[in-house]
């Protein structure tokens, strides 16, 4: 009656043995989860919780980086009397930093209508609290800064009031540059000071990466908007050079299982693609004078690597062995 005589014979043997000995001392097939679990930790379950953040957060990192460093470029332009560039940079800073960034951050909240609760307290030991304050103060500088700059540049008012506007524009623009550098770099601290192994093991690298990617992206975006000047080209080289160095740093500073999310899986590919696009490729394209392509490559690279770092957090946070390896006794 059977198609598989071999396996049926085995079952007959087992029945005979059970009948004769009263017990069958076989271990059965060692499937996952039983009879004795062979997965790491407790049934392979995560020890820490992976981040719940969705696409809004990496996109916010990208926008915040551009906005913050645009304000730095605007200050440089103001200092060296390049008013057109300063205006363009301030527009970028306002749109990306005072409009898009808050919208993205609020969208990511579980309860968006309670977003103002972020400003209930000031906690210097919470990078999230510091970030909320940095973004608010950045917005409070960059918006009046742009208004004063535009009013002054278009000579709407004359005489003393125009001079006052000039001074106000200067103060607000320098203020937004200070908060801007923090806006572009604190996001690295935000990821670095967590319980996720692949993040906290690279807490020194992350602010450098995010800040420099922000600077390079701001310069690249302004170049694409038509400001093809040597100063921005120099910054493009600088940012791509630093990103190339970080690519080497990441491939040397390995922590085996603890940060394998950076080097394996799809998350590893996102990091690598992002770093190559914004590092060596952008640098080489710039060397050949292909500035628009270098700018696009850098922008895409830094966007991809922001998403890559969030995906790395999800992979690393779900990996019990990564947590154990990072806490080796």
């Amino acid at each position: 009656m059977t198609n598989e005589p071999q396996s049926e014979k085995r079952l007959e043997e087992l029945r005979e043995q059970a009948w004769k000995d009263g017990v069958v001392p076989g271990k059965g097939v060692d499937v996952a989860g039983g009879p004795i679990p062979r997965k790491p930790g407790y049934y392979g379950q995560a020890v820490v919780k992976p981040p719940v953040w969705t696409w809004q957060v990496p996109l916010y990192f990208f926008m915040g980086g551009i906005a913050g460093m645009s304000a730095v470029l605007a200050s440089g332009a103001v200092l060296f009397h390049q008013v057109d560039l300063a205006r363009a940079a301030m527009w970028v800073a306002v749109i990306a930093g005072a409009i898009l960034s808050p919208i993205l951050l609020i969208m990511d909240l579980g309860r968006p209508r309670l977003f103002l609760n972020m400003l209930r307290v000031f906690k210097h030991r919470s990078a999230m609290s510091m970030g909320a304050w940095i973004l608010s103060l950045f917005g409070a500088c960059v918006v009046p800064g742009l208004i004063a700059l535009e009013l002054h540049a278009q000579h709407i008012f004359g005489g003393t009031f125009d001079q006052l506007l000039r001074v106000a524009a200067g103060i607000f623009i320098f203020g937004s540059a200070i908060f801007g550098t923090l806006l572009a770099t604190y996001t690295g601290v935000l990821l670095g000071a967590t319980a996720i192994p692949a993040w906290f093991l690279h807490r020194t690298l992350l602010p450098i990466h995010f800040g420099t990617a922000g600077l390079g992206s701001a310069a690249a975006l302004l170049e694409l908007l038509g400001h093809r000047i040597p100063a921005l080209n120099f910054l493009g080289f600088y940012a791509a050079g630093v990103e190339s160095a970080l690519l080497i740093w990441l491939s040397v500073d390995k922590h085996n299982a603890a940060d394998r999310a950076i080097h394996e899986h799809g998350s590893g590919w996102l990091i690598r693609i992002g770093e190559v696009l914004s590092g060596p490729l952008a640098f080489v394209l710039r060397l050949f004078g292909l500035i628009p392509f270098a700018a696009i490559s850098f922008l895409i690279g830094s966007l991809v690597s922001r998403f890559g770092w969030i995906v790395v957090g999800k992979v690393s946070g779900s990996d019990p062995e990564a947590v154990f390896a990072s806490q080796q006794r």
Binding site: P25, P51, G110, T185, Y238, G313, G317
Partner: protein
């Protein structure tokens, strides 16, 4: 004697909140029978929504892990080790060839043990979630526990990645009260009225003991000694006091290594990483300003 002695305070009225006495949980798997009454009591008292019925295939544990809608979680460990002097035959079944009642007999053919442990928020001395919370929603109570004020939380999700034990989580749609971060409240509402937390109250074997922290520490130390003398050579307390977490208020007795329970061997509070990360951020900020000045000064 410390405090009220080492007897259980599970069924007594108390005034710990008014007296500002530090309290805690001591959870002991050696007497846990895996009934899950703590899970049910917790869900019922706190009106925690059901988050789905799924078969995990992991022993009798279909709860999974602690999270936004699971504040007590009974773990079911199946290990190929001996439990005290218990002797098991093939597949962990009683061995017909050996005398089951001969204590200390090492003839176990197939050592096997089933361990149950009711996991819960650890209420850390230095709490990662509390430090990370940007709204001030997470606070420390009079009894030393860590409490999320649900009406203040805006669901930013930063506590989720800041907990070294993976306890707190954001409740997803479409569950009741979704969007906020949730975890064990230590039944703060009950404690304010002098009642014992629901899970400890219902525990039939006092595997979960609620009481003054100093009493529980003494009780825990005594229990470890007792178990080791009766053959449980791998019994130990899990209470990471030497790391930056600085000890936990809901501590455990475990048999074997913490990793098997999904407990981190050396948990750290993430704020210890702030200094190096901010140093790097400030250095990057200064470098970016200098690079910009150089660019405009020399390449215009």
């Amino acid at each position: 004697m410390i405090g009220e002695g080492i007897q259980s305070t599970n069924q007594r009225k108390h005034s710990y909140v008014q007296d500002r006495v530090e309290v805690g949980f001591f959870t002991d798997p050696s007497v846990c029978i895996g009934c899950k009454a703590c899970e049910v009591a917790c869900k019922e008292w706190n009106q925690v929504p059901d988050d789905g019925f799924t078969w995990s295939g992991n022993s009798y544990d279909n709860t999974g892990h602690l999270g936004a809608s699971t504040w007590r979680h009974v773990m079911f460990l199946e290990q190929d080790r001996q439990k005290g002097n218990q002797v098991t035959g093939p597949m962990g079944l009683p061995n017909p060839q050996s005398d089951l009642f001969a204590a200390g007999s090492a003839e176990a053919e197939d050592p096997f043990r089933w361990v149950f442990l009711s996991d819960v928020c650890k209420h850390c001395e230095e709490a990662g979630c509390l430090e990370a919370c940007p709204t001030g929603s997470i606070v420390r109570t009079e009894v030393g526990s860590v409490l999320v004020q649900n009406d203040v939380c805006n669901g930013c999700g930063y506590c989720v990645v800041s907990c070294p034990f993976g306890v707190i989580d954001r409740r997803p749609e479409p569950l009741h009260d979704a969007g906020g971060a949730f975890k064990c409240t230590f039944c703060y509402d009950r404690q304010k009225s002098g009642l014992v937390p629901a899970c400890a109250k219902v525990c039939p074997t006092e595997s979960i003991v609620f009481g003054r922290l100093d009493d529980l520490r003494a009780r825990g130390a005594e229990r470890v000694q007792q178990l080791q003398q009766s053959g449980y050579s791998d019994a130990q307390l899990y209470n990471p006091t030497e790391t930056s977490v600085g000890g936990i208020h809901a501590f455990f007795l475990i048999l074997g290594e913490p990793e098997a329970y999904g407990l981190p061997p050396k948990p750290q509070i993430p704020t210890i990483y702030l200094k190096s990360a901010w140093t790097s951020a400030f250095a990057t900020a200064i470098a970016s300003i200098i690079a910009t000045l150089v660019a405009f000064a020399f390449f215009s």
